[in-house]
Symmetry: C2
Subunit: 238 residues, 2 copies
Amino acid sequence: MAGADDAVFRPVRAGNPFEETVERLLQAIKLGVVGPGERLPAERDLAARLNVSRVTLREAIRALTDSGYVESRRGRYGGTFVNERLPKPRRTSAKQLTRELGAGVDDALVLRSALETGAAEAAAARVLTEAEVEHLRRCLAETSTAKLGDYRRMDSRLHLAIAEVSGSPSLTSATADVRMRLNELLDAIPLLAVNLEHSNDQHDAIVTAILAGDSVAARQAMQEHLSGTAALLRGFLT
Amino acid sequence: MAGADDAVFRPVRAGNPFEETVERLLQAIKLGVVGPGERLPAERDLAARLNVSRVTLREAIRALTDSGYVESRRGRYGGTFVNERLPKPRRTSAKQLTRELGAGVDDALVLRSALETGAAEAAAARVLTEAEVEHLRRCLAETSTAKLGDYRRMDSRLHLAIAEVSGSPSLTSATADVRMRLNELLDAIPLLAVNLEHSNDQHDAIVTAILAGDSVAARQAMQEHLSGTAALLRGFLT
DNA sequence: CGTCAATGGACTGACTGCAGACCAATAGAA
DNA sequence: TTCTATTGGTCTGCAGTCAGTCCATTGACG
């Protein structure tokens, strides 16, 4: 049994600042926070926000440049831009992923369920600003009309948008993190048009419930949506 | 409005390894993972688990020694022990705490609700080992019979125990973290015997539901328990 | 009564990440 | 065309952290 010790005496940091920074930038790209062709914040700003030295940030950017995610241009109105064509995901076999992630999959799925159903519930209970409603609707629309290659990223962004309107930044961050942990796994699963359609319906139900202020329905809809994915993932890994 | 940027471009690390380590040790003490008179893991082990050099860990321990939390003894069967009498919490006024924490209180409360209700639900849905049941029952009993000065710590430990039996280490860690964020605030609120009794009843309901495998009731009971505390906290800060 | 294993305590040399200053390129504005 | 603000690119010296090694102390056990 895992004692409370394991929770409180877990590693203070996952890796060195460089690695963590790379991970964070990848998060921004893979979760669709900055889309293809869009620009990252200027190095000085970004370094300040990440609480990392500019040197370290630049090393991270360099790594992403080398692996084909971004490109930098100098001069005023320059910056670091996300490439229009992103590198393909690894596409490892589900079997190997099981071995890699092991019990971590279940861990992530349980955490995800708690975070996202909680976020949906909290979001519905809140009074949203016009900008928030707009953003939510926009993400929903863009997800439902996304091409197959873009679907995963748009889906991530929609789920993140829902977490955002919960009004809890910590909840948003945690949601983004756990999504990243599952992303590699999701990439190993083929996207079927029928599933996709079903997914869109569920997204619609969730957002509708949130906008209607019905927190019970919002939680319920999110719960159903997530359990579908969870079952799919657990199934592929057995 | 807080964009998704803020979630993904948040600081990579809260402080330097030294500060983080101090925080983690305080977590272990204040959440009752290691009680008064008990021993911390040996420096070499602990440093490895925290993924921190022994030098850094020792500096952190030194800081806690200076502030009266722990004491170290050399030799075989020695070690670093938590003091029987812990330093008193700051007891700042609620008004000042509001200013300090600001919107962070609401953030933490929303996150806490999501995590702990999710944990209770997941725990009830799981088949618990005998050791887990034992641990849960023990924490419950010790909380209900705790003296006023020990109550907060025992309560923390019970909530942490519930998170543990969710089976998701990440969920447990997150629960511990958010509890630490709220702890200072909780210390600013007087403990009334009547509230305490009510709290014990709720704890009992939660644990009973979990042991019965009734995930709906478990979530419900936890939800009620937390909303009481949340209302109390929000009230004191208005 | 000595032995010894396990613990905290102390030191060194190397490396990493940092803040800050400065250089170089770029494109819009004057 | 020239100016200039903004951006990425580069360098240096400093503080923090690390892995590894050895020392000092202690108390149970033979």
